[in-house]
């Protein structure tokens, strides 16, 4: 089904069941946060896991998506689905420019360039009038879906967010398992070889980058509709670090890893929020432990144990 193997189909169905059941057990707003970050992490994983491009500035696309969705929903009065589309397009547009610049260098330089470009974007957001500076954009209305269905109720909004997440998840899976995705993996494994086979690898990398940033923008946009707020936190580089952590902890290059990682990191932050800066320290420790002893991540290790690719 959709390029899923049998175990993956089972895991996907399990995930869908969990997405449906969990709002009856856990706080829906927390779950919506998890789903937004899960989509964000899946988008990031599309680059690092399947093209081997380490972007250390994904907060730029997430955050700009968040700002634009918040702005258009509040000031222009767009309906939430249109605001999210605007956020997605913003992520894609910014990704086109930044990606076009960053793919000129490989490896570690790519990471540093994306980080520096995201920092430039951060300073832009700090000064630009439409972002509201330190205050951000607050009290964004949830509005009416398609102008008809009011989203004030958390459960109704949860359904919308779950649909966006599942659609994004399936889209990424489809991209990875398309002929286009096979070329991406070839580039990850051996770029000179892919070039010698006649592929314009830069074009492929740029398209993958834009797809990833568009989905990151969608995740940010959805997040701002859910919480009714877009702030500098969304574009700050610690947000870029967080999405790296989620993906690393869940498992780089696994399908379900980023989702599990997003759940683990968001849950941890929720639990540790009362302890102030210990959140940062804990994140640092998780990074170090993952890199030293746990490079395959939770899902990667599980998949290796069960001898199946999850």
């Amino acid at each position: 089904m959709l390029g899923f193997s049998r175990p993956q189909t089972m895991a996907f169905l399990l995930m869908v069941v969990l997405v449906i059941v969990s709002p009856f057990v856990l706080y829906p707003v927390f779950l919506m946060k998890v789903l937004c970050f899960a989509l964000f992490a899946c988008a990031f994983n599309l680059l690092i896991g399947y093209v081997g491009l380490m972007s250390f500035g994904h907060a730029a696309y997430f955050g700009m998506g968040s700002y634009v969705a918040a702005y258009t929903a509040k000031v222009w009065g767009l309906t939430p689905e249109l605001a999210i589309v605007m956020g997605t397009l913003t992520g894609a547009a910014l990704g086109t420019v930044f990606g076009w610049l960053a793919i000129r260098r490989q490896g570690i330089y790519f990471a540093m360039i994306t980080l520096a470009l995201a920092q430039m974007n951060y300073f832009f957001c700090l000064q630009a009038p439409f972002t509201g500076g330190e205050d951000g954009i607050q009290q964004v209305p949830r509005g009416h879906l398609f102008g008809l269905i009011p989203l004030q109720n958390d459960m109704v909004l949860y359904v919308v967010v779950a649909v966006i997440f599942l659609a994004g998840f399936l889209l990424i899976h489809r991209i990875v398992h398309s002929p286009f995705g096979q070329v991406l993996k070839a580039i990850r494994e051996n770029e000179p070889r892919a070039i010698s086979l006649g592929y314009r690898t830069d074009d492929y990398k740029l398209v993958a980058f834009i797809l990833s940033t568009a989905l990151a923008g969608a995740a940010g946009a959805t997040k701002s509709i859910v919480f009714g707020i877009a702030t500098l936190t969304d574009v700050h580089f610690s947000m870029s670090g967080e999405v790296v952590l989620m993906t690393l902890l869940g498992g780089l290059g696994t399908i379900f890893g980023p989702v599990v990682g997003a759940l683990a990191v968001t849950g941890m932050e929720n639990y540790l929020a009362q302890f102030g800066a210990w959140v940062t320290v804990t994140q640092g420790v998780v990074f170090v432990v993952c890199v030293i002893a746990f490079r395959r991540g939770i899902i990667g290790e599980l998949g290796a144990k069960l001898k199946m690719a999850l």
């Binding site: 260098r105 990471a111 470009l117 700090l126 210990w278 940062t280 320290v281 640092g284 890199v291």
Partner: protein
């Protein structure tokens, strides 16, 4: 008051000096990053945190032990360097066979831990550090007042950069180091203890960051975020200069500091982003960096 290009001269020279000071820190930090990258093939994301640690060690020595600035200038880099030895031996050395990426992620995690612990202990506000008596006050140069401490920072950083350059380019130790950067197994075959050399290179690189931290302590308040603010800009500096050349990182560091300072005069809104804009231009015109070789 005389004017240059329609701007009052003291403003222009004042910002130029601030730019030079920032440039001094860019140069010291990017130099350390370049030395470490050359030898270990990892980008040390913890560099900013270790810069901050240098400032905190200096502050702590004065606060708890009564050890003054001049001793701190010697001891703090040694302590940060020793901490670097510990980090390299226990953690970083496990990553040499892996993708560069993991080195970046590990040192990013280390930076989060160091900065998070500092924030827990001392809060985010920052503590003042007194300028040493010898460097109090300012000198009247006729066209501007030059604060003595700021002049000292520029001179000390320039001298330290020059010494590092001389050690690497002109001594036999530096020659061995450069050889090991090019081809470690061959140098090891000549009987050089390469792993120890790698450890000491890392220690040396982070000691430079510690030294920069002590220099910075009296200028900026000693606070847990001081490194975080610098490190990303330093990455842009490294991308602009290319990590291939020692002299290149020194020149680029100072040069970009001056560019930033001048932007504060002519177009203040752009001063935070100007270095990144320069990076974009360099990427378009010379993707390998001003002094870099194509990878």
């Amino acid at each position: 008051m005389f004017m240059i290009l329609g701007y009052p001269a003291p403003l222009l020279f004042g910002q130029l000096l601030l730019g030079l000071i920032n440039g001094a820190f860019y140069a010291l930090l990017s130099l350390g990053l370049a030395v470490i990258f050359g030898m270990l093939n990892i980008v040390n994301f913890a560099h900013g945190a270790l810069f901050m640690l240098g400032a905190f060690v200096a502050w702590g020595m004065l606060e708890y032990l009564g050890i003054g600035y001049w001793w701190a200038l010697v001891l703090a880099p040694l302590i940060v360097g020793a901490f670097g030895v510990l980090l390299e031996k226990t953690l970083i050395s496990r990553l040499y066979k892996l993708d560069h990426l993991y080195g970046l992620l590990l040192t990013f995690g280390l930076a989060l831990i160091i900065e998070g612990l500092a924030r827990n202990q001392y809060g985010s506000s920052g503590m003042p550090y007194r300028i040493p008596d010898l460097l109090q006050g300012a000198t009247n140069l006729g066209f501007m007042f030059l604060p003595n401490y700021r002049a000292w920072v520029v001179v000390a950083a320039a001298v330290m950069c020059l010494v590092t350059w001389l050690v690497i380019e002109k001594t036999s130790l530096g020659a061995t180091l450069r050889a090991a950067t090019e081809n470690a197994p061959l140098v090891q075959a000549f009987g050089v203890n390469v792993p120890r050399m790698i450890t000491l290179t890392y220690a040396g690189g982070v000691a430079l960051a510690g030294f920069a931290g002590v220099l910075a302590a009296p200028i900026y308040s000693v606070n847990p975020n001081m490194g975080e603010n610098f490190i990303i800009t330093v990455f842009a500096v490294v991308v602009i200069g290319g990590m291939g050349s020692i002299l290149g990182s020194i020149v680029t560091g100072f040069g970009l500091g001056i560019v930033e300072g001048l932007t504060k005069v002519f177009y203040p809104q752009g001063s935070a982003t100007v270095i990144f804009v320069v990076m974009v231009i360099v990427l378009l015109a010379r993707p390998a960096g001003l002094f870099g070789r194509a990878a």
